[in-house]
Symmetry: C2
Subunit: 285 residues, 2 copies
Amino acid sequence: MFDKVAIFGVGLIGGSLALALDRAGAAKRIVGIERSPGAAQRALQLGVVDEIARNEADAVRGADMVVLATPVAQTDRVLAAIAPHLTLRTIVTDTGSTKGNVIEVARERLGGKWPQFVPAHPIAGKEQAGVDAAEVELFDGRRCVLVPEVDTAGHAVEAVRDMWTACGALVSLMTAEQHDTVFAAVSHLPHLLSFALVAAIAREDDAAMKFAHAGGGFRDFTRIAASSPEMWRDIFIANKTAVLSELTAYEAELRALRQMIESNDAKAIEAECELSRNVRSQLMF
Amino acid sequence: MFDKVAIFGVGLIGGSLALALDRAGAAKRIVGIERSPGAAQRALQLGVVDEIARNEADAVRGADMVVLATPVAQTDRVLAAIAPHLTLRTIVTDTGSTKGNVIEVARERLGGKWPQFVPAHPIAGKEQAGVDAAEVELFDGRRCVLVPEVDTAGHAVEAVRDMWTACGALVSLMTAEQHDTVFAAVSHLPHLLSFALVAAIAREDDAAMKFAHAGGGFRDFTRIAASSPEMWRDIFIANKTAVLSELTAYEAELRALRQMIESNDAKAIEAECELSRNVRSQLMF
């Protein structure tokens, strides 16, 4: 399908993509590029990529598909570095968890080649990072959201859709605003809340005793608090508006619950928990 | 070990206790009592208990161990009902997730028999409730915290310790205040936060689209939001002081994080996430 796929950032997502492309026989050659020499070596050693490019120009030369799988804050730098080396047939896409800011940066950096860029987000994180955590089946049956703008080239969208479908993902389309609001609510805010709980307890005098008695509920609630600090730092800032807006709604809910508990309003608390349980029990993952 | 164990509330905890006592050969007869006739029938049908008592007096008659496994708000009613029927050799214990309020109620209701009451909390919840969710190995390797007061009878503490040890649990001791603070932080608050997130999103106009894109992080974060509304309503009210105090600390943490995000303070956000990840990664469950 592709002669050469260039993957920027061969970590969990980039590495898994390389493995899945290989499984599908969808790329004749997969070239990775890594800022960390150790990670680059490891990716070669694991056979995740065919080669590691020495620089951005080498990476994109001859590539018909370029995938950014770096933390979102690096999008600007990477796009600026590759823009001069892109031909009119190179398709570029990303894997970032936020889309509004990526689109803004890509429009500016890619100029006339902007229509060849397809903003994308495969929904397949896990708390482990790095190429050692990469899995060939990471995207199987998982959603991948494409966020084309009105002036994104149709053939580019089709190529990116085909790539993710070949990797096992279920592709759907959204606007950038929908995307950023949806994931602020169901992904970014929960991560923030989970990081916050562990950090808040860690600062208390009796933290050790508290953590020693944490059970299954705490384990699951805080699983995502073991996620990559760099990645999430970038996401919180990149999707600031939507994240803080969801946080505002959440804080209002907490104030309402506090008020119910303070006034021993058992009926109202139970109704709130009931609403939550009914909705949660019906969700399919 | 016991001639007759009476279990009030044959649900997840009471049912699992009955199964584990039976596995250990630790009770000649296990008698359940249920407010719901359906649950009583089901417990008999599943062979979880040997019989179902018709009333409180029958349940405790001849019992050397009485276990309350009802939602905590029922502690008062149940203790009041059984108090007149307890002999001086009957040991009473509970399984509630809060201890300060249980102790207060037990002192009042049990009067002179108060020293025979051992406040206890097996740390082995899951989101499913009811006798159908009961498991013989629910307590295996899990902690059970005993919270004796200075005037709790030593032999009663030993008997309850032996019972839980026979059921596979690792028994430890705490004061009621320690217990309620610890579990407010690592159990009650996370449940409140998880219920709150699902309820907050459920009220938004685009709730359906948001829930449709929820992934693994959301699934784990909200697993406990499918827990029993009645049980958690009771816990939030019973442990109000400690829960609201932990909530206050948590809200301060959220305000600090909001401030960092608003001011694009990448370094501070990353430090916060790093603290959280380091602590979380070292926890053993």
